[in-house]
Amino acid sequence: MLDLLLVHPVSANDWISFDIPSLIQNFWSATFDGLTFGAIYGLIAVGYTLVYGVLNLINFAHSEVFIVGAYAVVLVLSALGFGPSVPTLPLSSIILDLVLALIIAMLASAATAFVLERVAYRPLRKRNAPRLVFLITAIGASFAIQYTIFLVRGANAEPAVTMFQAQPVFDVFGTIINSQQIIIVIAAVILMILTDQFIRRTRVGRGIRAVAQDPDTATLMGVNKERIIIITFIVGGILAGAAALFYVMLVPSGVQYNGGFVLGVKAFAAAVLGGIGNVRGALLGGLLLGIIGNYGQILLGDSQWTDVVAFVILVLVLLVKPTGILGTSLGRSRA
């Protein structure tokens, strides 16, 4: 009856088939693309990791903190005259505009994280609510933000915002690496190093670690727990804002109301993979997940497999080594 539709152009009935030649052929481009995306996962993952460290909470709404930043980037840049076409502005003004967009995105994301913490989580902490209540609140907040955006901006993705034409920079094993990829990876690594140093060296960073290890003792030692929690959310928000800029740089038309959700789940998987509570682990996990997901997609011949591969890795890591690759350095060791 529907035999017309059964003539499947790609693969008839073997729903898993390993396309190894394709993987070999596209190995390096998949690697570099994966690294670029992985760097973005890593930046988002820091937000999950830090909040999990201090509150033991999977902040499901962090994906919305990110997507608000992405909307900020798109709206600011469109207001500045950017659009789907490659801008014809002079280089200096492009740089200025991007920095401005970055700052506003960071502010927007940080503000969202701040409001989220104050409105949704803090009242629960005051009541000493059970963990399940926190999780459900996080999910509810995630939904509320997503569909607020949906109502304001509609179901469609925002029009593409091209920041600049990606240019080939150099050639590795016959695969061209372009300027976008370099900017994103380098900037993400710099941001991660800064965050890592911030956590390790500054007074506030020590406070974050103290709260992560033992909130009660930290309070006794004069650490203002509420302030530390807020700062943690804001730091996570700032990095999510940065991730938003790079995401839009990479996927100019990828900003949609529900666009953060899957990205967020993958970033969380990256955080777990690298070792939740660990900033370096977040970056490592992000990069690994980006690469592996891309390999899986090419090997199995369907982009759907990226998500499946990511989730399967998450489950395997949780089962085999729940502390992730780099273990816990921020959070306490849990008995």
Binding site: M1, I58, L132, A141, S142, V315, L318
Partner: protein, 397 residues
Amino acid sequence: MSMSEGPKVLPGAETEKETIDVEARPKRSSGLFQPLVDKWNALPRPIQWLWLIIVVVIAYLLPILDIPILTTQPGNDWALACFSMASYALIAVGLNVVVGYAGLLDLGYVAFFAVGSYTAALLTSPDSPFAHIPYLWTIPVAMAVTMFFGVVLGVPTLRLRGDYLAIVTLGFGEIVRILATIIPALKGQVGFQNVGRPPGTAADGTPLFANSNGTPWYWLTLTIIIIVLLLVGNLERSRVGRAWIAIREDEDAAEIMGVPTFRYKVWAFAIGASVGGLSGALFAGQVGFVNNQKFDVQTSILFLAAVVLGGAGNKVGALLGGVIVAYIPLRFTAIANYKYLIFGIALVLIMIFRSKGLLPARQRLLAYGRTAYQRVISKPGTVTPPTPPEAEKGAAS
């Protein structure tokens, strides 16, 4: 019987000197329907039964009554809306076992619903290459298959910490949805048409259980809900229910008190899954068409919202939550675009202000508890239960 809330000392008792810890004095955890619940609990058993029978009769008459204010017309057929509410209620009752009783946050519950739907479709639709069986047989088969999936998913993941479980189940839900797209035999968005239905022909020659005929589907589902409620009630007032609540309250303590926590968590998962599969099979039968749409995370969250809204841990509450979550978008079709926003905000607000949901009555965990507590109450110097045993529909004891 006094309706006092806390461990208040009855007048005339000799324990007047007893000073009760201020900290331990319960805050008024009154729900929206708390006065109603209190009144209900004060009723003698036969009167409760009488009311229950009335409620059940009204429930059965619901699609025929078509009360003007309540009706979902002209946007949606009322009988089908009743079925939709009933199937959400059934789902909520099933999910309540997992989330409400055992305290396991399952964000991929829709996967079980999907597995149930696909089981029914694969075994009855002419589009499926598999052997076909009568539709009604697919219901137990779907339950068995989803139960199997529940165990397969539960055994590795239920060893994880609670919040990791949430993300893993979320992933599982996505994987099931994606596999429905990728595996050619499941036909992705093309889907399965003409899924089977129970036998029977209406007076006008059309099938009794046609997809446009909501009333018989509603009655079937309602009957199943009543059976499921009775069975879940049996579990609740037994060693199993106590084990679940103990796990929810303090898993380590439960384990040390001799509760094989892992085994009971897997049971909760499997039982919840089978109810999800059951409702999936019913839904597939009614719509008559199954494809890979609508088995997404949003739907899982909607189910969760139903349980939480009604009152996690309370099967009647969950039932109510399911009905509300299904009813509101059907009745107020104009809010279709706002649906998820409303339920998202509702989740946050409920958690902040009324984390027990609309019907916060607590579960009863002893099969013969009523007599036991009455024995206590009849003695002098005793304290009445703060929140008396809950109101239950169709709960035999």
